[in-house]
Amino acid sequence: MTYWGAAVAEGILIKGGRALAFPGGLTGEVDIMVDDGRIKAVEKGIAAGVATVIDASSCVVAPGLVEMHAHLREPGMEYKEDIASGSRAAARGGYSAVFCMPNTEPTIDNSSVAEYVYDRGVNEGLCMVLPHGAITLGRGGETLAPMGEMAACRAGVMGFSDDGAPVSDSEMMRRAMEYACTIGTLIISHSEEMSLSGGGQMNEGYYSTFLGLRGIPPEAEQIGIYRDICLAEKTGAWLHLAHVSTSGSVELVRGAKRRGVRVTCEVAPHHFSLDDSMLVSYDTNLKMNPPLRSRGDVEALLTGLADGTIDVIATDHAPHASHEKETEFDRAQFGVVGLETCLALVLTKVVDPGVLSLEDAIARLTEAPARIMDMGRWGYGTALTEGDDANLVVFNPEYEWTVDPGEFMSRSRNTPYAGWNVRGKVLHTVFKGRLVVTDGELV
């Protein structure tokens, strides 16, 4: 099966934007001609001819974003999100590829479910929807899932994770890592020591004490991460740590990288833009796992981004229906949506304060996840050179807008950013040569 949506016959001319390529960095104003699904030319003063012209002046034209960590909820929980609504949200957020976690019903723990998810993404045709597979059958932690079968199927599964829960049994994690080495795949760990975090509702600290909510200590994450780093060091497996949220976790990853352990990690926008003091509102849209941490942890995450300890920015997009959030705090589901606000939050909270340059920040959303997930297999490149598949995002980094969840394409609205004024907006998304989003709206 291939992506339908043949390129617009006349092509698309993206005029006057600054191209951002890896390698290459940010250029001056340039025109990009897209035709027949590919980049045809990148140079100044291209004549439009019959092509559709996109005015990209004061915009940046970058490779389409790659989301390493999203929950698209299909199959099984389509009332929260499905691959259609998730694809629309992703396209509107500037993404060309979304890796979705296997905690579905049924679990993505075999090639049939993996191919189902992949095919549904192809049918929507708005971005690549690429499943991660479960490490253990049913994410039950007891029997290894057929990684080899999932890797070999047309979904080409490369990342394996029981995300939403850790692989608590250390022997199981060790064997999974060893097996993954042989298959040549990546273990993505939701690291958490459940005996320490069980029943917790928010970060443990002054605010959990003040609010009378059960705490999730930072140590629950750090003990999990330390164990996984030890096992990766022993087995030689490639370990990717999902959603690191504490200063201690950043320090553990920094040390492991220094020792040469094959470890990469990601941070979610909510963890670097919000902290646990905000929970005094008891707003359940601030409830996620890992939880929002202290101000000091936020600073450490930004430092981790700045010094390269944190490789990737991934949203952990976790849609939930309103009735699952409009309820008592300790009964509300964990998670926030993120696909449609990520780029703006990165520009507002990472680039504007000078934590990362625009180039380095966008690399964490494109080049880094593409490298980790070997996106060349899917024809995705970040060099923006002639002949490459045309997967592009055109965004205005200065454009200020107010987050209105009512406008989300996602089926769910569980965002803590409603009413936030943010800077940087996705105006156009080109997927495989087709304009799928223009002027911020789906085509």
Partner: protein, 311 residues
């Protein structure tokens, strides 16, 4: 009653009250205490008002206390508890709240096992919400009645030394009392093994010790919390026996004390655990005094939120 929404006010927590608001409520409670001593224990202050007691967690004392307070102010009271309501059929808190509002009530008194539930309800109802205890968060009327009792018996609050002993971590009573006592200028010392002390509680302006004997010689008020057997299963301490040994107000400790502090307890007491039975008998008048103060204090709260010109 800081939470002002339009012209509506709530009582959700002590942490959101100012000192003068606390003192005004205590003063008002003093006048209402007199009503309960009359042969006809009723004033017409809230005649025609309807108050719902929405109790989603078992409670006898607090519910009765609010009910009596409302009735002595001539309000109509409806009791709605989880065992008899549609909540046991899985109706959401939001839908329950909206249903109650549709019936046209003037105030909702909420007891809930989840921290923050009363605060959440303010988004769904258009009348005052009074927190009657939410999870491990706060129990503001308990703290106010405790302050009232202390002031009546010791004549002052400022500068008093108060030791709170027991399961601080799980206690909404402790949290509300800490806020209340600090706001009126009392010193607070928490006494418990570290396994019952929540993270970073010193930031609330309190001292912490693991040694009861250190606190006994120091305090003017000894506030004992109810200890629950479940905490043994959570490995918070080894056994009730050991708890009593280290943190119980035993006869030996009590009879050695001179002068003796004011002993308080939010009830119900576990005789033989946090307090020896004979000691309990000796200090019982204070503890029943707390209960009596509860009615007067809750009358003051209801009147403040619903009565007067705002009615």
């Amino acid at each position: 009653m800081r939470e002002v929404r339009g012209n509506r006010r709530d009582l959700l927590s002590i942490s959101s009250l100012e000192k003068d608001e606390i003192i005004n409520l205590l003063n008002s409670a003093r006048s209402f205490a007199e009503v309960s001593t009359r042969s006809v224990k009723k004033v017409p202050a809230l005649r025609g008002k309807t108050i719902v007691n929405l109790f989603m967690e078992p409670s006898t004392r607090t519910r009765m206390s609010f009910e009596l307070a409302a009735k002595r102010l001539s309000a109509d009271v409806v009791n709605f508890s989880s065992s008899t309501s549609s909540l046991s059929k899985g109706e959401s808190l939001k839908d329950t709240a909206k249903t109650i509002v549709a019936m046209g009530v003037d105030a909702v008194v909420v007891r809930h096992g989840s921290a923050g539930a009363p605060q959440m309800m303010t988004a769904w109802v258009d009348c005052p919400v009074i927190n009657a205890g939410d999870g491990m968060h706060e129990h503001p009327t308990q703290a106010l009645l405790d302050l009232f009792t202390i002031r009546e018996l010791l004549g002052r609050l400022e500068g008093l030394k108060v030791a709170i002993v027991g399961d601080i971590d799980h206690s909404r009573v402790a949290r509300s009392n800490i806020h209340a006592l600090r706001k009126v200028g009392a010193e607070v010392l928490l006494v418990a093994p570290q396994s019952l002390i929540p993270q970073d509680i010193r930031r609330m302006g309190v001292e912490v010790t693991g040694a009861l004997d250190e606190a006994l010689g120091w305090c003017d008020v000894l506030y004992l919390l109810r200890i629950q057997l479940e905490r043994v299963n959570e490995s918070r301490f080894p056994s009730l026996r050991e708890y009593t040994l280290l943190y119980g107000l035993t006869e030996a400790r009590w009879f050695e004390l001179d002068p003796k502090p004011l002993v308080m307890h939010p009830g119900p007491m576990n005789r033989g655990v946090e307090i020896d039975s004979r000691v309990a008998d000796e200090v019982e008048s204070v503890i029943t005094g707390q209960v009596a103060a509860g009615v007067a204090l809750r009358m003051a709260v209801l009147y403040d939120l619903l009565g007067g010109s705002r009615g």
